[in-house]
């Protein structure tokens, strides 16, 4: 079944290019130029994924976002023209699956779309084994292996890796990770996260100084670069 993607973007030239790019990649595409059309399309067309530009004429995209993602809603990738990290963090905390900064690289955008659709297709609970690089984590057995051998992680390292593996390829904000792994009282203790991440990388990255699996998004959060199944 072809996945259906809703593009919410007020600039016609960009919207048209997005439509062409996505159609060429084999997706069914619906477009909307403002928030009202977007909500209508969500109800009628029931898209699997929404590309949402945050700068809309009739409504702030950040206001629209929680309505769009309300279950059983589509996954949302936010398009933002702003460099500032706070907007991205807010969008992610509001339930966006990912974000892409304009001007974006088309290949990168398609990769994000694929990754988001994969996550949407397979609920987190169904994911049992997630592979990344030469390592993998078994979320049921609670085991991490690398090149066939078992890797011993501290409880926090495991909890952090497991949380990232439940959403492979998706950026989880510092606050989201800290809340799940350390508890709501430690949402601001980014230092914990950094130190634990360091330990994980030492055990799992081919080159811990140049990490490619456990990726940092400056000022936003971390993502686990999973292997495409």
């Amino acid at each position: 079944m072809t996945a259906k993607i809703l593009i919410v973007e007020d600039e016609v030239s960009i919207r048209r290019l997005l439509v062409r790019t996505l159609e060429r990649a084999g997706y069914a595409v619906v477009e909307a130029g403002d928030a009202r059309a977007a909500l209508a399309a969500r109800a009628i067309d029931k898209p699997d994924l929404v590309l949402l530009d945050l700068g809309l004429p009739d409504r702030d995209g950040l206001e629209l976002l929680p309505i769009l993602v309300k279950p059983p809603g589509p996954a949302v990738i936010v398009l933002t023209a702003r460099e500032a990290t706070d907007e991205k963090v807010i969008a992610l905390d509001l339930g966006a699956d990912d974000y892409v900064t304009k001007p974006f690289d088309t290949d990168e955008l398609l990769a994000r779309v694929r990754s988001a659709l994969r996550r949407a297709a397979k609920a987190a609970a169904e994911r049992v084994v997630v592979g990344f690089g030469d390592a993998s984590i078994d979320l049921v057995e609670r085991r991490v292996t690398r090149s066939g051998g078992e890797v011993r992680l501290t409880p926090k390292e495991y909890a952090l890796l497991a949380e990232l593996a439940r959403h492979p390829g998706r950026v989880l904000t510092h606050a989201q990770l800290l809340r799940t792994v350390w508890g709501p009282a430690h949402v601001d203790d980014v230092g914990y996260l950094r130190v634990t991440m360091r330990g994980l990388r030492r055990k799992l990255e081919p080159d811990p100084a140049a990490p490619v699996l456990l990726r940092n998004e400056p000022g936003v959060g971390y993502r686990l670069q999973g292997n495409d199944p």
Partner: protein, 696 residues
């Protein structure tokens, strides 16, 4: 339990562990105590006002220090300041004006004024109140203030002085049982206290004549009365002129009247009549009593008069101050304030007054009464001195007394903001020593008003600045958005064209690369605008340099495809405190710069190193290196290497942004040539304070 009224055991223990910690409990207790103290204080004040209870009902500590003109008084003031600081209490320096105050030597007055000024500068409230005796004044004021601690000096006076006048300290201790009294030894009196009987009140010869006349009149009345009712009680009549004379004319006319009355009584009414002989010893007593009454009544009367005079002076001064205060409250700006102060002081002290404020590095006249626009060199020097030191200078002060002017600092909000100059043509001191207190009070008022005017102006400025900041942020955001949208279209179009007409056409790749570069310029311009505007908003959090470097390398990877990027960032470096986005842009610009100058194919190295108490991150290229002398200028805006054969594209903003962002985060930047080979090294140095201590 289901109703939620009971703690589930696990929850209770968790609560115990998390909430009822020692520090939380201490904090709670402190909160509760503070709140209770506030409530009690407020209630008690209301109660006191309602019932006008007199007595020390201390809620918070209040320290009162009694100061005199003695040379040891400043020491006393400092002791009180220490005590107040230790107690966290408000404190007040009190001088009690007695009749003795009128007879102080000028040097003593100056010392007293200095002592009160010292107290004021140490954040004490100061007060001067008239009272018959020091003890009485201190007691009254301490009760009004509800002082809990009194600091007072005890002079080493001779025993006979104490016998005659009593000791202030002993009396206070006796009468103020609920107050802690701190007694400090004080030095000798610099001026021996003159006996009270030597009043400075002047008596005129006419007063004696009037007193004599009264006695004569009374004698006449006495003669008539004795004819009518016998002379048994005539002696009492003589009390009248004695009392009246003592009341109206003071001690000596009173005594004179007493002597005259005694003589007249003796002469006209005591047997043997019409002689000054006293036959009956009882009649001798009558004469002595008359003299005694004269002495006592005149004492009392002169005290009352002296008190009245002091009170009248205080009232006059208070009236002046009150009038001045309301004039100042209406002053909308400093010019109006200056006019008010100069006008008031000129009229009050019958002198010329100027008000000077700093303008362009020197003092300029803001207001003068009468209008005046020049000051001579000596006056200027005194003015500058007074302004710089925040102390009086010029005539009548210790500094540059040869000037015709006396300059006094007007202090507001913790610094000298202006000075007031008073001058006279007749080379007398512009302000009499006993008027200094009033002048100081006027200047204090002006200082307060000035602080208010400054605060109002600053407030208006802040509002304007905030408005400007808001506009600037909005503008930057919209420029960023407006520039990004067409770029997005260009990049996406290039990709679209490449997909449709052949991905291998280098034209599409160039288009994409140029668009990406344009995009970086836009980002840099916006960043630079933020640095220039001081509009950077920092979001400081612990950051792992490994993360920062890896992300930056990831982002420039495609732009720097000509170079290998070699990382040497140990994974055991301490975390640093920085803004992730700013650091990211710093690194991208440093890498971009290295890519610009490093020959194609040469590697770019990123080396992080732990120094004894700093951390440095260096970006090394293998380009031509920096020309001599360029090391310091490398981070200037639009810095380009002159005569360089490498006409590499760039705005010259990259390194300036690095410096701007690094400065904002508290990092140092430096540029140097590499020691190991030809090439440049740009370094970020992160100070120890921004390194996060190792955590488990």
């Amino acid at each position: 339990m289901q109703a939620g009224k009971v703690y589930v055991p696990e929850e209770a223990s968790r609560a115990l562990g998390h909430f009822f910690s020692r520090s939380n409990l201490t904090m709670l207790r402190e909160l509760a105590l503070r709140r209770a103290a506030q409530v009690i204080d407020a209630k008690m004040l209301a109660e006191l006002r309602a019932q006008s209870l007199a007595g020390p009902y201390a809620a918070g500590e209040r320290v009162l220090v009694a100061v005199s003109e003695l040379s040891s008084a400043p020491e006393l003031v400092r002791a009180a300041k220490r005590l107040a600081d230790a107690l966290g209490a408000r404190w007040t320096a009190l001088h009690v004006e007695t009749r003795r105050s009128a007879r102080l030597a000028p040097s003593d007055r100056r010392r007293l004024a200095d002592t009160l000024a010292l107290a004021s500068s140490l954040k004490a409230d100061t007060a001067t109140i008239p009272a018959e005796r020091v003890t009485e004044g201190v007691k009254r004021f301490a009760a009004e203030l509800r002082a809990t601690q009194i600091v007072i000096g005890k002079s080493r006076r001779s025993w006979w002085f104490q016998l005659r006048y009593g000791s202030v300290v002993d009396e206070l201790v006796r009468d103020m049982s609920a107050v802690a009294i701190h007694v400090l030894p004080a030095g000798e009196d610099s001026v021996p206290v003159e006996p009270l009987i030597r009043s400075t009140e002047r008596t005129r010869p006419l007063d004696y004549a009037r007193a004599a006349g009264m006695v004569a009149l009374t004698t006449g009345v006495g003669v008539i009365v004795s004819r009518l009712i016998g002379d048994g009680n005539v002696d009492l009549i003589f009390l009248v002129p004695v009392t009246v004379a003592a009341l109206l004319y003071g001690l000596r006319p009173g005594l004179a009247a007493g002597v005259l009355a005694a003589l007249a009584f003796n002469f006209f009414f005591l047997p043997p009549l019409y002689t000054f002989t006293i036959a009956d010893p009882r009649n001798a007593v009558t004469v002595v009593v008359l003299l005694g009454v004269a002495a006592v009544v005149s004492q009392l009367a002169s005290r009352v008069r002296a008190q009245a005079a002091l009170a009248a002076t205080s009232a006059r001064q208070n009236a002046v101050l009150a009038g001045f205060a309301s004039a100042l409250a209406a002053a909308p700006d400093e010019v109006a304030l200056a006019q008010a102060l100069a006008g008031e002081t000129a009229a009050l002290f019958d002198a010329r007054a100027v008000y000077l404020t700093p303008q362009d590095g020197s003092l300029a006249i803001l207001a003068a009464v009468p209008p005046e626009d020049t000051l001579d060199a000596v006056a200027r020097a005194a003015g500058d001195w007074a302004f710089d030191r925040g102390q009086p200078a010029g005539r009548g002060s210790d500094t540059l007394p040869a000037s015709d002017w006396l300059f006094l600092p007007v202090a507001a909000a913790g610094g000298t903001r202006a000075i007031l100059g008073l001058g006279r043509d007749d080379s007398r001191d512009p302000v009499r020593i006993d008027q200094r207190g009033l002048l100081a009070a006027l200047i204090d008022q002006a200082g307060l008003a000035l602080a208010r005017i400054h605060a109002e102006r600053e407030m208006a400025g802040v509002v304007r600045l905030e408005e400007r900041d808001r506009l600037r942020s909005a503008l930057l955001a919209s420029i960023g958005h407006d520039l990004r949208s067409p770029l997005t279209t260009i990049v996406a179009t290039a990709a679209d064209l490449a997909a449709r007409y052949g991905a291998n056409d280098p034209a599409f790749g160039a288009m994409t690369a140029e668009a990406a570069r344009l995009q970086r310029f836009v980002t840099n311009l916006l960043d630079m605008a933020q640095v220039e505007a001081g509009a950077l908003k920092l979001d400081i959090a612990p950051i792992d340099l490994t993360d920062a470097v890896a992300s930056a390398v990831h982002d420039v990877r495609s732009a720097l495809s000509d170079h290998a990027i070699v990382l040497d960032v140990p994974s055991d470096l301490p975390l640093i405190r920085a803004d992730a986005r700013l650091l990211h842009h710093c690194l991208i610009n440093l890498l971009d710069n290295a890519g610009k100058f490093g020959a194609p194919g040469t590697p770019i190295s990123i080396v992080a190193m732990r120094m004894p108490d700093t951390l440095t991150l260096r970006v090394l290229d293998e380009g031509p290196g920096l020309p001599p002398g360029f090391e310091t200028g490398a981070f200037d805006r639009f810095a380009r290497i002159e005569g360089s054969d490498r006409t590499r594209e760039g705005t010259g903003l990259g390194l300036a942004i690095v410096k701007g962002f690094a400065d904002a985060m508290g990092f140092a930047v430096s540029a140097a040539n590499r020691a190991d080979r030809i090439g440049a090294a740009f370094a970020l140095t992160i100070p120890a304070a921004l390194l996060v201590r190792e955590t488990a």
